[in-house]
């Protein structure tokens, strides 16, 4: 272990690091695998190297950073940089979701009504899509996807999605309690509530998987079910991926807590994950409102 110590007015600049270039190669491998798979050059196992490298990347890189942190190399300024970095990263994620929410709004307020002859696009209906009524949810005037007869059902908001909302909201509370416990030095409470949080997270993902299964097998609701299926699965899917990642990060943080990491004053890792978790939560509220409910 490195023995250097935090020097309050020295901003730590790592001298050199192999992880960034390794990370770039990882990304390249991952992308190449995806390309080879999508283009049918190779079977899907072409993705494996990339994912393995990616997992190792996180292990190595975070290990280095955690070790440096534990060794006390980082002063408060470094800590602040990490926090700001995390905040802006989350903001960029928000914008990524915004693109898909934008697609949903556009489809509901513009393209679907237009296809049904609304406003200036009256001829779209008259000439091209004579029988289209443009009622949401829809798989479009061409009746794309769905069951054999082209119909499909949607997941009612008040079933699993409502339960999942409750789960995520609860997990948001538990992570806040855990944070509080960390600040006030109640390590026992911290461990329990943090564990609860990621358990709730994984439960959410489980329910979501169940819901997807239902949708695919029973409801005729698939990724290819017109614009409804597209927006539904892309939004909930990306969200689900983020929940999964978040829950894994919470688990990692929990192990760190068990190892005695973090102090009431210095716990960037914990906070970053907690922020991320809140972000995932807020996105879900948007999803619940605009995808399932309204």
């Amino acid at each position: 272990m490195a023995q250097a110590h935090a020097d309050a007015d020295k901003y730590y600049i790592p001298h050199s690091s192999p992880w960034p270039i390794y990370g770039s190669i990882t990304l390249f491998t991952l992308m190449s695998g995806a390309i080879a798979t999508l283009d049918g050059w190779l079977p899907a196992y072409a993705l494996i190297p990339g994912f393995v490298m990616l997992a190792l990347l996180f292990v190595f890189w975070f290990h280095t950073v955690i070790a440096e942190n534990q060794a006390g190399i980082y002063n408060m300024a470094v800590d602040r940089s990490f926090r700001m970095g995390m905040m802006w990263f989350i903001f960029s994620e928000v914008m990524f979701f915004a693109a898909f929410f934008g697609a949903l709004f556009y489809a509901r307020n513009f393209s679907v009504p237009w296809l049904a002859g609304d406003g200036v696009k009256i001829f779209s209906k008259l000439l091209l899509w004579n029988n289209y009524d443009g009622v949401w949810p829809t798989n479009g005037p061409g009746v794309v996807g769905g069951k054999a007869d082209g119909t499909f059902e949607i997941v009612p908001a008040l079933g699993l999605p409502a339960l999942n909302t409750a789960i995520l909201l609860t997990s948001s509370v538990t992570v806040t309690i855990a944070h509080h416990a960390l600040l006030t030095g109640h390590r026992g409470r911290l461990k329990i509530f943090l564990a609860l949080t990621f358990l709730l997270g994984f439960t959410f993902v489980g329910f979501q998987a169940f819901e997807y299964h239902e949708a695919y097998t029973e409801l005729g609701l698939r990724l290819g079910t017109g614009i409804y299926g597209s927006t539904f699965f892309m939004l909930t899917g990306f969200h689900g991926m983020h929940v999964t990642v978040g829950a894994i990060m919470l688990t990692v943080i929990w192990f760190r807590v068990m190892k005695g990491h973090f102090t009431p004053k210095r716990h960037f890792g914990f906070e970053a994950v907690a922020w991320y978790w809140h972000f995932v939560d807020v996105v879900w509220l948007g999803l619940f409102t605009f995808v399932y409910w309204l």
């Binding site: 901003y11 600049i13 690091s17 770039s24 070790a67 940089s81 696009k121 798989n139 614009i227 299926g229």
Partner: protein
Amino acid sequence: MAYAQANDTAHHDDHHDQPATGIKRWLFATNHKDIGTMYLVFSLIMFFIGGAMAMVIRAELFQPGLQLVDPVLFNQLTTNHALVMIFGAVMPAFVGLANWMIPMQIGAPDMALPRMNNFSFWILPFAFTLLLSTFLVPGGAAAGGWTLYPPLSLQTGDSFPMLIFAIHMMGISSIMGAINVIVTIMNMRAPGMNLLRMPLFTWSWLITAYLLIAVMPVLAGAVTMLLTDHFFGTSFFNAAGGGDPIMFEHIFWFFGHPEVYIMVLPAFGIISEILPTFSRKPLFGATSMIYAIASIAFLSFIVWGHHMFVDGMPLAAQLFYMMSTMLIAVPTGVKVFNWTATMWRGSLSFEPPMLFALAFLFLFSIGGFSGLMLAIVPADFQYNQTYFVVAHFHYVLVPGAIFGIMAGVYYWLPKWTGHMYNMTLAKAHFWLSAIFVNVLFFPQHFLGLAGMPRRIPDYAVQFTDWNMVSSIGGFFFGASQILFAIVVVQCARGGKKATSIVWEGTHPTGLEWTLPSPAPYHSFSTAPEIP
């Protein structure tokens, strides 16, 4: 093993003030100057690659009839010329300049997140390897224009996912670069360097970084939807399923319009540094310059529809986008007027950076004026998708963004290398560039107005003359850029020693001029005193 090694290096950090040797210095770099250099070198290479594509385009367009390339290859070249120039040349050049100059201008030892800094650079060579290798796969490179409009872009062959993932990688790189800039500026300023004292280049980059973080993820979303429409049967851009091809245009231009300011705001910053220096007089209205940049950035989010007037847009939207677009002329005008006022009653000398800054001033304005004409909806119905648009955006991009970058390089190069460069050669580069860029792009206004559409490999014979003029201008402009490479390489290798202030007899402001030339490996290990 590797892990132990990493900790080992951490151990040594306190007493490392010299760069590592050999290839590791670059592969494992965490130093802002090394990374800045890599960005700049990469950008120059990409400028030449993108430029070489443009030369083929101009050669094909030299006369009517198809002589060199078939239409598909022509479209591939146009598409990739734009992608390489925008994502490979201009943006990395600005990030390179940011890396070099921001820590020096705010009195910081380095960028805030050095590892991430290296990561964001090293993604780029891989991303462009992917992008450029699309020329080799079945079906060839993407040929649907840099705007990637579906359904056409969905007709791309095997290179389709390569294109999408290359763009994803560029986006990841840009976002990390932008986060680093914001964090550096917000967290690493020397005590006393409050925001309003910050040099204009740093300011312009701060705002640019916000733009980047806000719009690059949206581009990622847009191309992800393309990917799923292509491979997984989604209907985002398919009317039969309830989607709309025009929806892509909205999402793309929500990114695309701020993107064009991403490519020019840092140049504004550079010009605001150079003009005062060689006018020997402080920048006029520095505070309103900052507000002007911020207003431009804000407005850039609400004008995207001006790229889509002819694509079928409700009346109210046409009016809204026209007026919001026109409004951008106001803050941009404030900048132009303040620059002019900076020179007013100054004492001007004409070193290469100043020459490029002046050319920027005149020629960017011309590009801005044609932009304003494009904003007039009825007129845009005639201009849209013609060479008038091509002329507009090359005026703001080449004598705008590219000249801005060159002005910056000529301004700070001695600070980086410790040597003065060959002024005669640099001036020759300037005059050739400034003259031929106009021969190259001015006639394209005429072509567009006379009715020549863009993105065509062959044209009706009445367009021959101006195309010939434009191509000749293009060849000479391209050849002149070789001088730039020569000046830079010579300067890196040696030359007259530069003093710390570099521009003796002028008054450059900014902390970078308090450091010796070449600047020490770690810029400000201890925070400087801000007067």
